[in-house]
Symmetry: C2
Subunit: 187 residues, 2 copies
DNA sequence: TTGCTCCTCACGTCACGTGAGGTGGC
DNA sequence: TTGCTCCTCACGTCACGTGAGGTGGC
């Protein structure tokens, strides 16, 4: 039977020896054979498994998820993949927001001097200066979310927040309207 | 003068206490005052600095880069920001490529069974099976890059590689045509 | 005196990279 | 015998989170 040593396998897949050592340590890819002197020998089955691992890895799934996918039934794999697809979607919009922000900073630096700061912090400070406290802000979010959810979302995004943070604030806003404003952190 | 303790400052900015402890440890934000008993006290100047840090952090600049920016002259800051903008650009295209890949996997799983594998590995194996060796592949890249750089790029991207990897291979291809094919790793 | 906040280690995370120090195989 | 490859620790990375064990301030 044809087998491969660790570095040879690495070269076949453009991976380093330490990567394969790591995969072995975490149990993601354990060579089927060990020689008497402890050398790892990878069989064709191992090569096939690594093939799959590499495919999945290029979607930046975590090694943990990859392990689960390979262990699960074929028909059950869609869930993880779909979840990852959604995550990638929001990562992309996060990055786009950051692009926007950086673009504005660059322009700001050219024409004036300091980086632009019209963001969450400044907004919160403005409200506070205007005399609003924690509870006020909480209620204001809750009302905004209730009356105009889409606009609320757009507004939060415009302050440079990521999708995830925006979602959290919105969920929390929906709770706080029914519960009455009990604030626990500075939003 | 008005000062803030660490947790209070954290609440003001939506950061955890450990985050601020960490910023102190790495010297990014050192409180201007320490009480006799060791308590950190942050002045308004510190608050302003943290303001800038938070703005920059939301562009996912590394804390290291943020430190450099704050230490550098205003007019010298553009470089770092532009570099980060470019990075974000290629991160976005990487993610889009991954989206594509995952999409195809999902469809593949629905209609057939195994995840799609027509990627870099398979391509390389096909060439090898066809009798091409390291040196042959090296030369082939070099020629491709020389004759049709755009098409070469598109082709590499179509195999699911990220922008960075593609750039590396192309640079290396340009060298290898003049230098004559001395290969050192499995591309 | 009771809580609450503060302090300083020190270890864990994720996917490896990078030695150090030593052995096997052609 | 000389290189090359292999082995196993163990520590570093990045931006924190999470205790443990102890002290200050109202």
């Amino acid at each position: 039977m044809k087998t491969h040593t660790i570095s040879k396998l690495g070269r076949m897949f453009g991976l380093s020896r330490s990567t394969l050592l790591y995969y072995d340590r975490i149990g993601l890819l354990t060579p089927s054979v060990r020689t008497e002197s402890g050398y790892r020998l990878y069989t064709e089955d191992d090569v096939e498994r690594l093939q799959r691992i590499c495919s999945l890895r290029r979607t930046s799934l975590s090694l943990n998820d990859i392990g689960s996918i390979l262990a699960s039934e074929t028909h059950a794999r869609g869930g993880v993949v779909e979840k990852r697809l959604q995550e990638i979607g929001s990562e992309i919009s996060d990055l786009k927001a950051k692009q926007e922000l950086l673009g504005r900073m660059l322009k700001g630096m050219a024409s004036y001097e300091a980086p632009v700061n019209v963001d969450k912090q400044m907004w919160v400070e403005m409200l506070r200066t205007a005399g609003m406290d924690e509870q006020g802000i909480t209620l204001w979010h809750a009302e905004f979310e209730h009356r105009a959810p889409e606009a609320h979302r757009d507004f939060l995004l415009s302050l440079g927040m990521g999708e995830k943070e925006v979602d959290l604030i919105r969920q929390w806003s929906r709770k706080n309207r029914t519960a009455g404003g009990t604030a626990q952190n500075g939003r």
